[in-house]
Every structure is written in C-alpha cells, then in structure tokens.
C-alpha cells in the first residue's frame, strides 16, 4: 500500500498541468451554458411583451433570483473544485476518483443551472438544456477521437515521411536495432482493400438476394423467424467467427490450396462476408420493405410475373437503400479486426493470390501493439496506421451519406444519378446515334389502326440466339431459386458455426473453469474464467450506466426537440453517424491514448467501459430514434391538445409507447458489450489475470479471455468452452430482447 502511494505521488507532478487544464475545461463547459441559459431567459422575457406589461415587477424579481442562484452555483462550484484540488494534492490520487469528481462536478453544474432556469422560467427549457448537453457528448467524442489520433500519429508520419509511410512497400520492425526498422503501410492498405472487396462479393451478394427472398418469396409464416435468426447472428462476437475460420475454414481450404496454406484473402473474404451478411440483409430488407406495394401491384397488373415485378419494379426502387447497405457492409469489413487476425496469415506483404498470407491495417495494429515501446517511432507508426484506417472509414462514411436516400423526399440522392451519368455518358457519346432519344417526333398521331399490334411488335423484336432466349426465359425463375439457395446456405453456414462450437465446447465447461481460483499465468496452471465473468459483469454495468442514459436522451433530443434539418440536429446526427462508422480498434487506440495514458486511468475496467460506452452510444441513439419515430404523431397531437407540455408529452406518451423498442435496444446493447474485443485489449487488458478488486484494476472480459485461450493450442478445449459460454450468453440476450419486446408490446395492446 505504501509503495503504491509513493509511486503515485511521484507521478503527481507530471500530471499537475493536465489536472489544471481539466479543471479549467470543466468551467469552460459550464460557463457558456450558464451564459446561454441566462440570455435565453432574458430574451424570452422580452419577447413576451403583453405579459411583461402585466407583471413586469414580478418578472424582474424572478430575474434577480435567477442571477443570485447562478452566482451561488458559481461560488459552490468554485469551492468544490478548490476542495478537490486540495484533496488531490494531499493524496496524490488521480485516475478513477478524479474522473468521478469531474463527472460529478459537471452533473452538479448542469443540474443546478437547469434547475435555476426551471425555477425562473419553465421546466421545458431546463429539460431542453439537459437533452442538448447529452447530445453534445457525441460531437465532443468525434472531435476527441480525431484530434488525439492525429495528434499522436502525425509526428510519426512526419518522421517517416508522408509518402514513404503511405506508399512504402515494406513494413519491417527490428526490435534490437530500431534504426533498421522500415514502416510502410502500403501492403496493409492493399490487404484491407482486398479483404473488403472479397467480403463485399461474398457477403454483399448473398445478403441482397437473401433480403429479397425474405421479403418477397418466403412463406409469410417463416419470414419473421428468418429475420430474427439473422439479426441474432449479427450479435455473434467477431472472435467466434475468427475462431470458426481458423478451426474449420482454413484447414478445409488448405486441402484445395496449391500452396497447402489455407489462410489468406479467400479465407478472410469468406469469414468477413459472413460477418457483414446480417448487416446487409437487415438494411436491404428494410429498404425493400419500404417500397410501396403499389409498385408491385402495378407491375403485376401489367402482366409482369411475380419475379419480374419484384426484380424490375421493387428492387430498382430500393436501389439506394441496397447500395447503402453494401457500403455499410464494406465499412464493417474494413474495420473488422479479431476475425481477420485469426485467418489472414498475418505476414506483412501485399496479398498475392487467394492463399497468400497477408495483413490488414487493423491486424497490423493489434499484432504489434503488444511489443511497441512507449514513445517509440514504432508506436507512432501503429497509431498512424490507425489514422489511415480512420480516413478509410471516413471516406466510406461520406459515400454512404451521399448514397443514402432521404426517405422524406422523392428526389434521388445525388450520387446514383451521378454514377449513372458517369457510366452512360461515355457510352452515349460513342453510340449517340443508336442510344435512346428522349424526344420523340411530334407528328400527328391519329390513326392508331395503322400501327402494328403488340403481338406483331413482339414477334418482330430482334432475334436473339436460342441460348440467350432460354436464359431470358428462365432468368426470373433462376433468380428466385438462387435467392432461395443463398438464404438457406447462409443460414446453414451461420447455424453451423453455433452448432460446431457448442458440440465441441459444452463438454469442456467444468466447475474449475467457471469458478476456479486464478493460480498463475504458466501453462501448467489450470485456466479459470471466474475473474473474467466478474470483470464482464462490472464492465457491462458501468458501460450501461454511461451509454444508455446518454443515448436515450440524445435520441429524444434529435427526434422530439429539433426540427428536421436544423443545424444542431444535423451536427449531432453527423457525429452519431461518424461514431457508428469508427472501427472498434480505433476506439481502442483512442482509449489507450486518452483515457489510459493522458487521463492516467491506466489499463482498467473504467477505461474499457468508457470507451465501449462511446462505441455503444451511436447504436443506442439510432435504434431508440427508430422507436420514437414509430410513435404516431397523432399521439403527440392528442397530448398537446389536452394542454400537456413537451416534457410531459415526451415522458408520459412518447417514451412509454416506444418502451418495447427501447428495452430491446438496451438488451441488444448489452449483447454488443459482451461481444466486444478489439478495443478492450488496449484499454482494459489482454491477458487473463486474478479477480479484479475494483474499477481501477485491469481485467479481461469473457471475449478477450477467449481470444487469449485461442492463442495457445494447449488450451483449445478451454477455448471451445469459453466460446460456448459466449455464444450462449449472446443468444440468451438476443432472445430475451425479442421476447421482451413481444411481451411488452402485447401488454400494451392488452391494456
């Protein structure tokens, strides 16, 4: 204990400046809001001229009170900050208590200010401020991630040289002679692109056809079941996919590979394809479902068969949504880490053929971070590859936003016509005589009789050879059959993963594994998951406490408090969207730089929880927003017409109606926390160790512990057992989520 204290005091002076900066930034946050609130108050009072005439004296009184209360707030904040300062100087404690103090100070400041405003003006304004502040967190997080990554990565890029770093064809780290190291990320960029394209070809094609099949060709009875099963598979931890790849796919491919090696782009494409499959399916499904059924009916009424109506009217109408789902899938594939690391082969070279080992940007970071010296060029170069990855994702994100159609307008998004024009313009230029004229001759047409009938026109259609005629004839049916085959095979594949892991793992779950005491790191010590189970519980608790309230408040702010297209809403939505696209490994890097090192929280459950909370935030916001959107406007109108205010409407009408969705969102969020791996390795710890003794101690969650097991073939049985526990946990959470939603929905319908 003594030793611990002295080391902490020794570190104190290094952190003094950071601490002061923090204190000032807290006041920096509070001050503008205070001023804003006061000004708003003043303006509102001014606007209300008639009222002012009646009881101007009273209003003046109120303003005086407000000023006094704000002053008191300020003084109390100042005093508490001073107290904190004294405490920290006396004990030298940083880390977790400091963070708690910061959070508490901010909460107190915000609450006191809001309550002041509430007292003087109304509870409407004060709640609006609370909602606004929660929403701003997303914006701050985006800026912080970009700032700190670039801040830490840029010096390394500058030292290596921009072009030599980005286009260098060799990545070689020499631990003994650092000056011999060469850091060029081109092979990894190539690897990332190859992996993304492979995943797109396998997962994208499968996904779109499966979505079409689910919406249009499946019997209605199993439609719900299928979409739920696929959604369930989206929750499977990526380490499980990677494990399955390493255990089954790679050995299988080794049999057919000319080099005898199974790992490489093909294996990665298969695994990543299956991972992005659920994303592509659910998003394409949504956009296909959103196409008005009148298009289909119109197609059918014109005598087009079912297949033709679906593929020619429904699917083209949903094309921007489908394209968006593919782009999002690519984003996922680019950012994926844990699954790739287990099947890629991991040699830092350009991917060369289907079975050549290679690395992606993400894999590079995880592989070498473990032995990167603090403050070394090596570490800088790794963070810089994170920056490259972030840029990649950012570009994909921008394209996604351009492609995504605004559901409220008839207009197509900008990009699709642009792409179309880009493709057709050169062709038209060349074939200008033959191509379709959009202006038809405007001569008199009154004698319809002279024209050929449709039947004659059909017969005079240009002759095509028998084979193509046959293909044209069976094409619609084939498309239908293919989409069926895709659906069945992909579900079989994903079901196969679960069955494979469970059959190999359930038998190895032992009492020692679940509750045994941790005895040591050595290979002779029996493994135990008990510390990991406790760690997981602690981490899920803290992450939920941070992420869910913030996410729900942000969603309410976006949906209920801002007009569509207002600047604040746009900024927050953009931030949420960006956060959603940032790969988990980048969150890990950011957490490592900011929470672990700069804030001095160290590798701890707290650091990990905050980082994952930021990761969960966008998912929570979006899903909650969907739930709120589904609440009919007539409910709100009814509530307002009865004289209820906005706050009352939101909390008494809108949120209760959306409750089933919100509860589902929370449970699925917990599922994601359990599945998360990559970011936790850098912020919470990557080697299984003893029982955590608090939130400031390092630990491994189940998923990370499982990954650690898979690194050593000696513990393959334990790995299978841990994988089974993980799968069961995730499945239970997902099933609970859908059952809860159904139960709550029914209850609501019954009352």
């Amino acid at each position: 204990m003594n030793i611990l204290n002295t080391t902490k005091i020794a570190e104190k002076h290094n952190k003094k400046e950071i601490f002061l900066i923090l204190i000032f930034s807290i006041f920096g946050i509070v001050l503008p809001f205070t001023i804003l609130a006061y000004l708003k108050l003043k303006k509102l009072n001014k606007d209300d001229t008639s009222q002012r005439l009646i009881d101007s004296a009273k209003k003046k009184d109120k303003r005086l009170t407000a000023a006094v209360i704000l002053l008191v707030t300020w003084i109390s904040l100042f005093v508490s900050a001073a107290c904190a300062l004294v405490v920290f100087y006396a004990t030298g404690w940083f880390g977790f208590p400091l963070l708690i103090a910061i959070v508490l100070t901010i909460i107190v400041a915000v609450l006191v200010n809001s309550l002041t405003v509430a007292f003087v003006f109304s509870k409407e304004v004060s709640f609006k401020i609370i909602f606004l502040i929660s929403s701003v967190v997303a914006i701050i997080a985006v800026f912080a991630i970009f700032f700190f990554l670039i801040w830490e990565g840029m010096p390394a890029i500058a030292e290596i040289g921009f072009f030599r770093f980005l286009f260098g064809r060799t990545w070689h780290h020499d631990g003994d002679n650092p000056q011999n190291s060469i850091y060029g990320v081109l092979p990894m960029i190539g690897g990332t692109i190859v992996a993304a394209i492979g995943a797109l070809i396998i997962g994208g094609g499968l996904g779109v056809l499966t979505a079409i099949c689910i919406v249009w060709f499946c019997p209605k009875k199993i439609r719900g079941f299928l979409s739920q099963t696929i959604a369930l598979l989206a929750g499977l931890p990526s380490v499980i996919f990677g494990f399955f790849g390493a255990q089954v796919i790679v050995p299988f491919l080794a049999n057919i590979s000319p080099t005898g090696m199974g790992s490489g782009p093909l294996a990665v494409s298969i695994i990543l394809g299956m991972m992005i499959f659920p994303t592509v399916v659910s998003l394409s499904k949504n956009s296909i479902e959103a196409v008005s059924s009148t298009y289909y009916e119109a197609g059918v009424a014109l005598g087009a068969g079912k297949e033709r109506s679906v593929f020619r009217t429904v699917v083209p109408s949903a094309k921007s949504g489908i394209l968006a789902s593919l782009i999002l899938g690519v984003g996922r594939a680019v950012g994926e880490t844990m699954a790739v690391i287990m099947v890629a082969g991991n040699v830092a070279q350009m991917p060369d053929g289907f079975f050549a080992p290679f690395r992606t940007l993400t894999v590079n970071i995880v592989l070498e971070m473990g032995y990167a010296e603090p403050n070394s060029l090596h570490l800088g170069a790794l963070i810089a590859s994170g920056v490259v990855l972030l840029m990649f994702v950012l570009i994909i994100n921008i394209i996604f936003n351009l492609v995504k159609k605004n559901p409220n307008s008839n207009k197509e998004s900008v990009i699709i016509p642009a792409i179309k024009r880009g493709i057709t313009f050169p062709m038209r230029f060349i074939l200008s005589k033959i191509s379709r004229t959009t202006r038809l001759a405007d001569d008199e047409v009154d004698e319809f009789k002279q024209r050929l009938t449709l039947e004659e026109k059909r017969k005079s259609a240009p002759k095509i050879n028998k084979l193509s005629a046959f293909i044209v004839k069976i094409l619609p049916m084939t498309a239908r059959v293919i989409s069926y085959v895709m659906l069945v095979s992909s579900i079989a594949f994903l079901g196969g993963i679960i069955i494979y892991v469970l059959t190999n793992g359930l038998g190895h779950i032992s009492w020692q594994l679940i509750s045994g005491e941790f005895s040591g790191f050595g290979v002779n010590h029996p493994r135990t998951l008990a510390p990991s189970i406790v760690t997981t519980l602690m981490y899920v608790l803290l992450t939920s406490i941070i992420a869910f309230p913030l996410g729900i408040l942000t969603a309410v702010f976006l949906q209920e408090y801002t007009k569509k297209g207002s600047k604040v809403a746009k900024a927050v939505e953009l931030a949420v969207e960006t956060l959603a696209g940032v790969p988990s490994i980048v969150y890990g890097l950011f957490g490592m730089i900011f929470f672990v090192n700069i804030l001095g929280l160290g590798l701890s459950i707290t650091s990990g929880s905050i980082v994952v909370a930021l990761m969960i935030l966008p998912v929570t916001v979006r899903a909650t927003q969907e739930g709120l959107k589904a609440v009919p406007d007539s409910y709100r109108e009814a509530s307002y017409s009865l004289g209820a205010g906005k706050v009352r409407t939101v909390f008494r009408v809108v949120i209760p109606t959306a409750l089933p969705t919100i509860v589902t969102v929370l449970i699925l969020g917990i599922g994601r926390m359990v599945a998360e791996t990559a970011s936790l390795m850098f912020t919470m710890g990557s080697t299984p160790r003893a029982m955590p003794d608090g939130y400031s101690s390092s630990g491994t969650t189940l998923a990370v512990a499982f990954y650690a097991f898979t690194r050593n073939m000696q513990f393959i049985n334990e790995a299978f057992a841990a994988a089974s526990i993980l799968i069961i946990l995730v499945l239970v959470l997902n099933i609970t989520a859908s059952l809860t939603a159904r139960f709550l929905g029914k209850k609501r319908a019954a009352t």
């Binding site: 209605k220 008005s292 009148t294 298009y295 009916e297 119109a298 197609g299 059918v300 009424a301 014109l302 005598g303 087009a304 068969g305 033709r308 020619r312 009217t313 083209p316 109408s317 008839n410 197509e412 033959i434 379709r436 004229t437 959009t438 202006r439 038809l440 001759a441 405007d442 047409v445 319809f448 024209r451 050929l452 009938t453 449709l454 026109k457 059909r458 005079s460 259609a461 240009p462």
Partner: protein
Amino acid sequence: MDNSEKKPIIQVKDVDLFYGDFQALKKVNFDIQEKEITAFIGPSGCGKTTLLKCFNRMIDLIEGCKVHGQILIDDIDIFDTKKRNVNRLRKDVGMVFQKPNAFPMSIYDNIAFGPRTHGVRKKQHLDEIVKDSLVKAGLWDEVKDKLNKSGLNLSGGQQQRLCIARALAVEPKIILMDEPTSALDPISTGIIEELCEELKQHYTIVIVTHNMQQATRISDKTAFFLLGEMLEFAPTEELFSNPKNEKCENYITGRFG
C-alpha cells in the same frame, strides 16, 4: 334495353368470394358489354372493389381468399389456369388504381415497362408505343419534353393519366378503374372523366366509384352492390331515375350510406 350488336365481354356467373370465413361476394351474376363504361356503386365494404380485382385476378395477391363460380372473359374462364395464363390475362385486362402509382422511373420507362415485359424490344416500336399511349391518355403535350424525367415529378392528376397511359401501352381490351379520381382535385377529375369518354371508343371500362354524379356523368350501365350482393344492374339513366330496388333508391337518394 336490347343490344344485339354488342356482345358480352365479361360474364360473371354465380360468383361467391370468401376472405377466410367472411363472405365478401354472394352469388353475383351479370354481363358486361363491350365498349361501354360500367360503374359499380355502393357503400364501403360492399364488395365492388373485390369484384373488380377478380377480373384481372389481382385478388390472387390477397391471402386466404377463395372464389367459387365462373368469370368468363372472351368466353374463357379466367380462373382456369390451363386455358388462361394469368400474366396474359392481366395484359388484356388493364387496371388503374385508386392512388396514382407511377413507378419511380422516368416517364418513358414507366410506359415501356409493360411492352418490354411482353417482349417488345425494338427501340422504334417502344418509341411508337410510348408516344401513342401518351397521346391516348392526353398527356403527350404536357410531357413530351421531359420523357426522361422521373414520373414522380408530375402532379397527381398527371400521374394518374400516366398510369392510364401505362395501362394502355400493353393494348388491353378492358380497363378496370378502382376509384381513379378519389385522390384527385375536381379539375384533374374532369380531365380523367373526359378521357374515359374518349377511351370508350376502343376499350371496355369498368369503374368503381363512390361519387354518384361521376357514375351518372360517364357510365352507360351501373351496378349497385350492398353487403356482397348485387342488388340492381341497369342502364345508368334508368337506375338513377327509376330504381327498382328499394335499398338502391335509399342509397342513391342519400338516405343511408
């Protein structure tokens, strides 16, 4: 009224229709003549749209729906799948829906969709069909300069005429209209009604309407439906001036609705 030169194009014989256990049509019997406008009137839920949807078997899209009896079009039972291909039937029996449902494609592609479906591939022929159909639907002058613009950019009335043009493009014999003007303003309604009068020269039109004036304005014959039964079928003037059925009289005089 004896019409010896005209022959019945649609013959409805003892049609019963069930949605699950609910009987939506009860023993309906009547004939529709060629190149006439026949209007179906009656309160909501009386089965008139259901019957209309039987004529081109759009009723197949509704699950759990069973039809007994026969509907003959050109003397062929449309429910006999061996003799009558359903897609060919729908080519011959066009439909215009209650709400304009132009595809989210260009005006040209909207109209060319049908002919392309039925195997017309020559550019020259497609151009001809697009133009003819637009002229027949009275839309040509309004859209001739923007054929490659999205069909959704047109006004509601124009979109409905685009849908009519699209139906005409596959050369149907019969056009079914399911309250085609209920989503339109009076001026667009007027244009569409005039259009129906012109189309009557070449096509048989069956129209479902809630608007009694519309029925009197455009239709030659009118059928009155109530609770799944067809209670009266007569030339329009006769039915409106001298209804034989008491319930029909009550309905058209506005005593119940």
